[in-house]
Each structure stands twice: as structure tokens, then as C-alpha cells.
Amino acid sequence: MLDALVSKFKTWEFVLLVLVVSMLLAASALVPGFTRPFSISTGIATFAPAALMALPLALLVIVRDIDISVASIAGLSSVAAGLAIQAGQPVWAVVTFALVTGLLCGAVNGFFVAVLGLPALLVTLGTLALFRGLCYVLLGGTPISPLPDFFTALGTDNIPGFVVPWAIVPFVVLAVVFGVVLHRSTVGRRIYAIGGNPETARYSGIHVARIRFLLFVVSGVVSALAGMINMGITSQVAPDGALGLELDVITVVFLAGVSVLGGKGRITGVVLASILILALRKSLQLLNVSGYTQGIAVGGVLIASLLVTNLSRQFFESRRERRPDPSVDAVHV
């Protein structure tokens, strides 16, 4: 009982929870206007696309891959949506067209990484530039607006009677879905197995390449969804849609405790890390901190979380070596 409790204190999710609670309390007390419903709902809506894209990215990092092209996929998918709007298509067709575009982008990444075996970081750095370039080529310099009411409502309206914006609903729903898949299903166990040791996973009969490919496709589709929320927020389709969002997305994933070395990380962590970065951004915003300094802060958090998760791993591993009895330490692994 006591061991279980002690082990809980040692999980990164618990540390995050403490950080989130203290951050929210401190911000409520110290940042004027932080607890205003308007600040809360706009803060959540603005952050929703980044939080959403962090969910599939966490899975990719767990299998030792990464997708830094997510914001460009979001941009390209919204350009596709915009072209469909221009062609006078109904909303369902616009949404489908955007999601299919995201799926294809993800498949391109997946093909090069999972099928051809090229390094994910470099492939998606390439597609980051490629997909963004396509945005400008396809759309030119003139943004498309106005958008159908569906999109503006998705990006800017609250659920009637709540402080919660529609924009965060896809994240909440998908967080539950991703949580169940990752922590309760066979696929989830396979994902951890691949991250833990790809070779072993392959010899145990797991279709490693297929799962990695699918994760890139899922990342593409979810990025498309984020792209549509973002176009709602900005009331237009522009070639620079969602530009630069990958910093927040990647920071959330690593702050969540997902390890660069693979095999480690939980959806709970992603949710908590999202709240933390959201609260940090909103607090800095309300304190009239410049965009440049916000960049420094978020970049700093990214480096710090890499450092802390890495150091704590080394710390725990060295302790394990000193203590031969595995039953004591096995709990927190």
C-alpha cells in the first residue's frame, strides 16, 4: 500500500499534475484576468489545434518516430478545404476532402519512414517544407474567406451555456480514444513493444512497419482536423495557416514524459502537459509578454523537460543498479 503510494509520487504524470495545479493556482492568484471566462475559453480555443496534434505525435514518439510536419499538414489540409469551399462544395464534402488530404500527407511520411526506412526526423523536415510550399503554390497569396458558418463556429464559439469552446471537443474525444487504444488494447501493447525494442517486437510477430505507417496516417488525419479548427479560429484559409505550431505540439509531447528513446509515455501526460503549456501561454499573454519571449519560454520548457526526463531516467537506472532486489524498484518502471 505504502509502496504503491510512494511509486505514484515517482511517476512523471504525478509531477505534472502537481505542476498543473500549482500553475493554475499561481496564475489565478497572480495574473489579472486569468480566471475570466473569456480568457479561459479563448485560451483553450487558441491552443486546441496544437493539443490535438500532440495526441498522435505522442504515439509516434513512443515507437521511436517523430512527425515535425504536423503544422504543414494542417496548413495544406485547410488549403484543400478552402479550395473545396471555393468550388461551392457542401460542408461534409469540404471536411472529407481536408481529412483525405491529411491522410495522404501522412501516408507520404509513412511510406518514406516505415516502408523505405528513412529517418523520420529528416523525412518530416522535408515534408514540413514541401507541404507548406504546396500551400503557397496552390493558394497563391490571397486567402479564402468568408467560410461556412460551421467552421467559424467550430473555431470561435463556445458550447452554449459553457465556458468551453467547441474547438476543444475533438481533443477531449480523441484523448479518450487514444487513451483507450494505447493503454487498454492489443495495438497499444504492440506500440509499447515496438518502442521498447523494435527488433524483439518484429521477431515476436508484430507488423512493425504496418503499425508505424498507420501511426503516420493517423497523425496526418488528426492534423487535418486541427487545420480545420485553425481555419475556423482565423476565419479564413491562408497559405500560412497553423504556421509554426509544431513547437507547441512537440513541447507538449516531451513535457508529457514521452521519451525520445521510445517505449515510454502516457496520454494522461499529454493532457496534463497541454493544460500546463496552455496556462503558461495564456498567463504570459495576459502579462503582455511579447511573442518573442513566449517563444523563449516554450523553447525553454522543451529543453527543460528533455533534461528532467532524461536525468530522472539516469537517476532511477543508477539506483536500480545499486539495489539488486528488483521487486522494490519494479513498481515505478
Binding site: 504524470e13 498543473v20 489579472p32 480566471t35 465556458v163 491562408a238 500560412d240 503582455n288 511579447s290 511573442g291
Partner: protein, 347 residues
């Protein structure tokens, strides 16, 4: 498994607490926005300034002028600082200013539409919205404070060169890129003037070259023009990067003086050449844009003026302004900067 369920539960509880604390304070924030909405401010105002980029020297010059004007009656200026010149990057700053309960949001739009939903929320909260330097969608704002009428800029550059070369001889244009919208409009109006106005009958445009918005290309093209056209007496360089680059290149080759330059760009970049009398610059007083912005914001917040065509109002030190179409207020005619008035332009 159990561990994760507990953590989720605690996480959810934390979220709820966050929401509850939001609800608890909703009453006071409502009353705050009630007192703002529709009410006219008497006395000092609280104005939020959103530039395209926080560190852009042009924007900072405007900010300083707004702050100087605001200091006179103790008004508050919140200068925000987006780090990307995109409309999307301006949205959190609009939301921030709404939360902070400013009376006026004055924005230089990075694009037309991105901020429109956020600015609509500002309007709902009783905040007056004006744009300066670069417009947002007209339905999102009241006034648009336009620094210069683009049609006049081309005419002024031609007049300036006319004065320097004595009204006759060959000249060239060194533009930015072939697709540059503003530059092409100015070139078209220059060609139009040359064809129709007998005053310019003795001036001949020999060619239009392009400096591609790069200093080295501009320098090279300027020298090529001088060599290709031995009779050349002047070059119009309607681009902020091109004018100083061309002046520098021709000054080094010793051609500046025989060749006169006119163009457009921040005065501080070319004032050393303006002083020689061989270069003139068409520009406007950027500080005045800040002064006009604050005065308009103040009188708008105090309900003294409305963005209706024909409305006129006084601005301390600048005189009388009249609202044109779509709530647009023009800062004035762009000025030809010469050695005599060069000191009046701090930007």
C-alpha cells in the same frame, strides 16, 4: 492500470476546479464589461496597440508617438508584440486586450480576415476598434488611418525627379519585383503622367529594371543602367531596399551627382545622400501617424466622432482631418524629402 485511472481522475478534478474558478469570477467580469459596453469614456482612455511585428522600427516609431500623445492626458497605452507577421499570430493579442478591458484596440493588420472573429468579440465587449498602417476587414473596425494614398506616391516621385534634373532628359525606373502590386501601380501612374501631362514632355523613360528586393542586385542593376544609357540623368527607385543600395553603389562609382535619384523608403536609410542634394525621397512622417492614431482613438472612445464619411475632427498639432469612404482617414500627401526638411523625419 489503476494508477492511470486515478491520475486521470485527479487531472479531471483539476480541470473542473479550473472551470469552477472561472465560473466563480464570471459575475465580476460581466459587470466590468457591462460598464464598458456602449458607454463613452470621459477623460483618459486605455488603448491597446497591436503592430504587425513587435520589433519593427516603423511600428516602434508609431508606438512612441502614441505614447507621447497619451502622456498628455494620462491615458494608458498597452503595446503588444507579436513575433510573427501573420494575422493568426495577432489573435491571442486581440483576446488579451479584450480580457484587459481596454477602451480601444488599434491594430495594424497583418492580413484582412484572421482577426475578424476576435475583433467581433471586442466589439461585443464594447471596445472600439480602429486600424492603422494596414487595414483589416472594414466591418471589423471603425476608422482606418491610412498613411499615404498610393496614387499620390508615384506622382510625387516623378515630381521630385523633375525638380532635380531640371525637367528634361532620360531616366530609368529600378523597381522591386515584376509582380510587386504597389510598385506596378506607381509605375503605371508615372507612365500615365508622362504621356498626358505636357509638363513632363521633355522627360523620357528609357527602361524599367528590377532589383528583386535585394541590396546587391539593386546596386548591380543601378550601375548597369548608368553604363547602358550614357545620356541617363536620373533613376526612380520606388523601394525601401533599392533606394539606399542604388545610392551607395552610384556614390562609390562616382556617378551620383551626374545621376540623380528619387524614390521611396525610410528617410533614415538615405538621409546621408539626401544631404548631398543628389537624392530625394518620397515619404511621410511616421510619427504623425501615431499622433493621428491616438487622437482618433481618444475621440472615438469619448464618442465625439463616428466613422462616417464627411465627419471632420481636429488633431492637436496636425490640423483638421476629414473621414473619407469606408471610415478611411488619410494622413496626408506624401512629402518630398529634401536637404531642407530632412530633419523633420525621424524614421
Amino acid at each position: 492500470m489503476k494508477k492511470s485511472v486515478t491520475t486521470v481522475a485527479i487531472g479531471a478534478a483539476a480541470l473542473m476546479a479550473f472551470q469552477l474558478s472561472g465560473c466563480a469570477s464570471s459575475s465580476d467580469s460581466n459587470s466590468a464589461s457591462d460598464s464598458d459596453s456602449g458607454n463613452c469614456v470621459s477623460g483618459p482612455i486605455k488603448i491597446g496597440l497591436i503592430p504587425k511585428l513587435g520589433t519593427d522600427p516603423y511600428m516602434v516609431t508609431v508606438k512612441n508617438a502614441v505614447e507621447a500623445a497619451a502622456a498628455k492626458d494620462g491615458s494608458t497605452v498597452i503595446y503588444t508584440s507579436p513575433s510573427d507577421a501573420t494575422g493568426a499570430a495577432q489573435i491571442p493579442f486581440v483576446n488579451q486586450l479584450i480580457s484587459q478591458g481596454v477602451n480601444v484596440i488599434a491594430i495594424s493588420g497583418s492580413d484582412l480576415n484572421s482577426t475578424s472573429a476576435a475583433l467581433a468579440k471586442a466589439k461585443q465587449a464594447g471596445i472600439k476598434v480602429i486600424s492603422w498602417d494596414s487595414d483589416v476587414a472594414p466591418e471589423s473596425r471603425g476608422f482606418f488611418l491610412n498613411q499615404a494614398d498610393t496614387a499620390l506616391i508615384g506622382d510625387q516621385m516623378l515630381t521630385s525627379l523633375y525638380n532635380m534634373i531640371g525637367g528634361e532628359g532620360e531616366f530609368a525606373i529600378l523597381s522591386s519585383t515584376q509582380t510587386a502590386v504597389n510598385q506596378n501601380a506607381w509605375i503605371a501612374s508615372i507612365k500615365d503622367k508622362l504621356a498626358k501631362d505636357p509638363k513632363y514632355a521633355k522627360m523620357k523613360l528609357v527602361t524599367v529594371a528590377y532589383g528583386e528586393e535585394k541590396a546587391d542586385v539593386n546596386a548591380q542593376k543601378a550601375q548597369e543602367l548608368v553604363q547602358a544609357y550614357p545620356q541617363l540623368k536620373g533613376i526612380i527607385v520606388p523601394a525601401g531596399i533599392g533606394l539606399p543600395a542604388a545610392a551607395e553603389a552610384l556614390s562609390q562609382s562616382g556617378d551620383l551627382g551626374r545621376i540623380k535619384l528619387s524614390g521611396l523608403g525610410p528617410v533614415t536609410l538615405v538621409n546621408q545622400y539626401i544631404k548631398t542634394g543628389n537624392v530625394q525621397d518620397v515619404w511621410w512622417n511616421v510619427q504623425n501617424l501615431g499622433t493621428l492614431t491616438f487622437a482618433t482613438a481618444q475621440q472615438y472612445a469619448q464618442c465625439k466622432i463616428e466613422p462616417k464619411q464627411g465627419t471632420s475632427y481636429d488633431v492637436d498639432g496636425l490640423g483638421k482631418f476629414t473621414v473619407g469612404e469606408n471610415g478611411t482617414v488619410l494622413l496626408g500627401q506624401p512629402t518630398i524629402v529634401t536637404p531642407e526638411n530632412e530633419k523633420d523625419f525621424p524614421f
